[in-house]
């Protein structure tokens, strides 16, 4: 185990704990930048898909992992981000402007919806957002003159300062673009976490009552969390729609919301790394499953298998590893560092007794 000797407050405010950690992440980034030279276009496309999911997941992670609020309606905000971006691009706004604007529009819409919704506690919020996700489908159909309804829309070509970024002809450019967005979003995420707002999120998540007693405006904090979360998810949605090339009312169903939830739980609630790990699982599980069924000699796809396995996986994680893959990794790391001195109860989960959320 390496002990850190801290000599200034800066060390806790900085992005990375120490040089080693900074170097590790620099290496990871370098690897990501070099990825187009390392793998073929098909896998690069898959990797781009993973990264887009991760961006959308980061949005939900901020809300659920950091501020402790459940949303089953983030697919609606992905749709909003996507339609906002594409409609602006179709109206002649350049992608460079339309993309961040789409994020801002989605964030504002999210905050606006949050103002009444955040008065609601856990269950109510979950149901209200679920209703929103289902409504999104109908609203897209009802506003068909703009959204194309069932017929959908085709994604216009992306043009960044004269350079055309296309999934098929320039997959490497597309990857770098998504990578840049992912890095920027992650930075903003970290910046929020190391500020008063990030601490207010955690305060609201862990104890609303004492957050209030410390002067945290709970409703406002939740609204900010919801707005920021929706903005990030909206960016993810815009990228997803553009990447898919065409989308309609059924592209962003409420099942996408649930997939996002699964993603962050499996990856590790409350960890940025968790969103990325979860995205990898979500993206590659279907492939792994089809490989497995092939190997078993069935040859035929079992309908609904994917959803079933996702469900089982999720149950397993909630029951046995609620900190997700990243939490598990941290435990393994600690165990290895302490070897052979790790004690079992170091990793024991704290049992807390029912704290009623019901108002009485």
């Amino acid at each position: 185990m390496r002990f850190q000797f801290k000599t200034s407050y800066e060390q806790d405010i900085r992005l990375f704990e120490d040089r080693r950690q900074a170097a590790r992440y620099a290496l990871l980034l370098a690897l990501a930048v070099a990825l187009p030279f390392l793998i073929d276009d098909y896998f690069l496309g898959e990797a781009t898909n993973v990264l887009i999911w991760a961006i959308a997941g980061l949005g939900l992670m901020l809300l659920t992992g950091q501020a402790g609020q459940v949303s089953l309606g983030h697919s609606a905000f992905m749709a909003l981000g996507c339609y906002a971006c594409v409609l602006m691009m179709n109206a002649g706004v350049s992608f460079v402007l339309a993309f961040p604007l789409a994020g801002i529009v989605t964030g504002l819409a999210g905050a606006l919806i949050a103002i009444p919704a955040m008065k609601l506690h856990g269950v109510y919020l979950a149901i209200a957002t679920l209703a929103l996700a289902i409504l999104a489908d109908d609203i897209i159909v009802l506003t068909a003159p703009w959204t194309g309804g069932v017929a959908g829309l085709y994604a216009p070509p992306i043009d960044i300062l004269g350079v055309t970024v296309d999934r098929w002809s320039t997959p490497d450019l597309y990857w770098w673009m998504v990578l840049a967005v992912a890095v920027l979003v992650t930075l903003a995420y970290v910046n929020i976490l190391r500020s008063a707002t990030g601490r207010a999120f955690a305060a609201v998540r862990d104890s609303e009552i004492s957050a209030q007693a410390m002067g945290v405006n709970v409703a406002r904090t939740k609204t900010i969390a919801f707005g920021l979360s929706c903005a990030i998810t909206g960016l993810g949605g815009a990228l997803m729609g553009l990447f898919a090339g065409a989308f309609n009312n059924e592209t962003f169903t409420f099942l996408i919301s649930i997939q996002l939830v699964m993603m962050i739980v499996v990856g590790g609630l409350g960890f940025i790394q968790g969103a990325f790990l979860g995205a990898v699982v979500i993206a590659f599980l279907p492939q792994a499953l089809s490989l497995a069924t092939d190997a078993l000699g069935r040859g035929v796809a079992i309908p609904g298998l994917e959803a079933g396995v996702f469900g089982a996986l999720l149950i397993a994680f909630v029951l046995f590893e609620p900190t997700g893959l990243w939490g598990r990794w941290l435990k393994i790391k600690t165990w290895l560092e302490l070897f052979p001195f790790a004690r079992r109860d170091m990793f024991r989960r704290q049992r807390s007794y029912l704290k009623t959320e019901r108002l009485r």
Binding site: Y9, E10, D12, I13, A188, N191, I192, R194, S195, A196, T197, G198, R199, A200, A202, A203, R205, D206, S207, I209, S210, A211, Q212, A213, M214, G215, V216, N217, V218, I224, G270, Q350, S352
Partner: protein, 264 residues
């Protein structure tokens, strides 16, 4: 003018009157204790001051300001900090982060500045950290700085909660049973801290406590409550000797036993 003043405050939960026409005044710079049997309405008084409850009638003012016009999250901005009877810390955060939340009312930077982590944010964080480190030194919390609350022993959590309230640099500190569940040594520490908080930091302390030993040693004035009503007020010794107080605790008048030691 008193720092905190409750005048004729009444609070009802359905048919139950939790606080009945209670008036009290806490003066700047004193340690004021509320005592009384379980269910006397002591914590309820704190929750009224924190604005978690709204009284049916009466007035509550702090330094001349009408508290009843504020939302709960606006109360700390006036300089009122509190602890809870059943510790309410942020379980998943570290001690340091918990204490930093105490600084919430002193934040100045906007969300946009924080998103880009501008130098202003960095400067502010450094200041908060400095203030928090002073509290950590004062309460000897150095060994636990980066530990998560979830794994800490009860006694330490109690101190962290005190620290979180102190980090906000309040004018009035509300302590809800600061010594409950603490060992003899821990209670001793708590006693010294409370004395220092008043003497060196100039913070007015109002506390609810069952440990009459602690109350007797640190408080200037004591108010005894029973069934949401005032029983007696005065120095610790006066209140302890008051027949109505003894009757409230023991049911009948049985003098010598109740004096000193722990009651209830």
């Amino acid at each position: 003018m008193s720092l905190l003043q409750l005048s004729d405050v009444t609070l009802k939960f359905g048919g139950l009157t939790a606080v009945a026409g209670l008036s009290l005044a806490v003066e700047e710079g004193e340690v004021f204790a509320l005592v009384g049997p379980n269910g006397a309405g002591k914590s309820t008084v704190f929750n009224l001051v924190s604005r978690f409850y709204t009284p049916a009638s009466g007035r509550i003012t702090f330094a001349g300001q009408d508290l009843l016009r504020l939302a709960p999250h606006d109360v700390p901005a006036l300089g009122i900090a509190r602890t809870f009877q059943n510790i309410e810390l942020f379980q998943q955060s570290t001690v340091l982060q918990n204490l930093l939340v105490g600084r919430h009312r002193h934040r100045r930077t906007t969300l946009a500045e924080q998103l880009f982590h501008l130098p202003s944010v960095r400067g502010e964080e450094r200041e908060h950290r400095h203030a928090v480190e002073e509290v950590i030194d004062f309460l000897d919390l150095q060994p636990y700085r980066d530990a998560r609350i979830a794994g800490l022993p009860y006694g330490v959590r109690k101190v962290v909660e005190l620290g979180r309230a102190l980090a906000s640099k309040p004018r009035l500190l509300l302590l809800d049973e600061p010594a409950s569940g603490l060992s003899v040594e821990e209670t001793q520490n708590m006693r010294w801290w409370i004395a220092d908080i008043r003497r060196h930091m100039g913070i007015t302390v109002m506390m609810v406590e069952h440990d009459m030993g602690l109350v007797g040693k640190v408080s200037d004035r004591v108010l005894a409550l029973a069934d949401g009503r005032r029983l007696a007020e005065g120095t610790p010794a006066e209140v302890q000797a008051h027949p109505a107080v003894i009757a409230a605790y023991l049911g009948t008048a049985a003098p010598s036993k109740a004096a000193g030691g722990r009651v209830a």
